[in-house]
């Protein structure tokens, strides 16, 4: 099998009472101020998380002991409208440095008015986080994947 089946992306959107630039800055510069601290992968408690403001920048957490754990990389930096980062945390909750295993998160910021912004988020290529061989074995062996993918297809119809 030449390519793994795709898993429907996760999508989310939220409208905030904040100007476009403020919304973008909060999401990026102030990332560590709002990201829920329980969602982290380091051994130490998370002190903060940092999203470097440039294409090619790092996206990583800093532990309370000063240690650092990468989460991904900044792929597109287009303030104040668009941001694409990779998410390279796999099912074992570890960073996977292989770019072929990188899922992507695209965040778009749209001004609804001078003081209101809608933020649309898509987390895609989730299949890259899964071990490719396990995926192929599951498919060719007629394992549970077929039904799983049917579930995902149903979930995806809400997002069309």
């Amino acid at each position: 099998m030449s390519s793994a089946p795709t898993i429907p992306p996760l999508t989310g959107s939220i409208t905030v009472d904040a100007p476009l630039e403020r919304a973008f800055l909060t999401f990026t510069d102030a990332f560590g101020s709002w990201w829920p601290a329980e969602y982290h992968i380091g051994q130490a408690d998370m002190a903060t998380a940092i999203l470097e403001p440039r294409a090619g920048g790092r996206w990583y957490e800093q532990g309370s002991d000063g240690s650092e754990c990468d989460w991904g990389r900044v792929l597109a930096w287009e303030p104040p409208h668009r941001l694409v980062v990779t998410w390279q945390i796999n099912g074992q909750w570890q960073y996977d440095p292989d770019p072929e295993h990188a899922s992507e998160i695209e965040v778009r910021f749209t001004a609804d008015g001078p003081d209101q912004t809608t933020v649309n988020l898509e987390h895609r290529h989730l299949e890259r986080l899964v071990d490719g061989q396990a995926l192929r074995d599951g498919i060719t062996g007629g394992g549970g994947w077929t039904s799983l993918l049917e579930l995902f297809a149903k979930a995806a119809t809400n997002q069309a």
Partner: protein, 110 residues
């Protein structure tokens, strides 16, 4: 997020099940180990684990006399359900921060 999706969010809507799921995300555990970290009985933990197993988020494996529970190693269902939850919470937290920042005049100059 796609709260109507079949892939797990309903299963994780229950706070205790979510707590079990997140403990298993950190390390595979037995029923007893989970019960020690939660304010519920072993039998209640077992019931929640059964629901998570039926939903495809968790699998179990016998190791000697112990049965170890872990997130589904195929990853996809569990991972997707977990990330769905992460983004829902993260976006809510982000909205609060963005609104607070735009109300705070000192932040306007930064």
């Amino acid at each position: 997020m796609d709260t109507n999706g079949a892939a797990g969010l309903g299963l994780l809507g229950d706070p205790t099940r979510r707590a079990i799921f997140e403990l298993l995300a950190r390390r595979p555990s037995t029923v007893g180990e989970l019960a020690q970290q939660l304010p519920i009985t072993r039998s209640a933990v077992s019931q929640h684990l059964r629901v998570l197993k039926d939903g495809g988020l968790v699998v179990s494996q016998a190791q000697g006399t112990r049965r170890i529970y872990r997130l589904n190693p195929d990853g996809v269902t569990a991972l997707r359900a977990y990330l769905d939850r992460v983004w829902e919470e993260a976006l809510t937290a982000f909205a609060k921060a963005a609104q607070a920042a735009s109300l705070d005049p000192e932040q306007e100059d930064q």
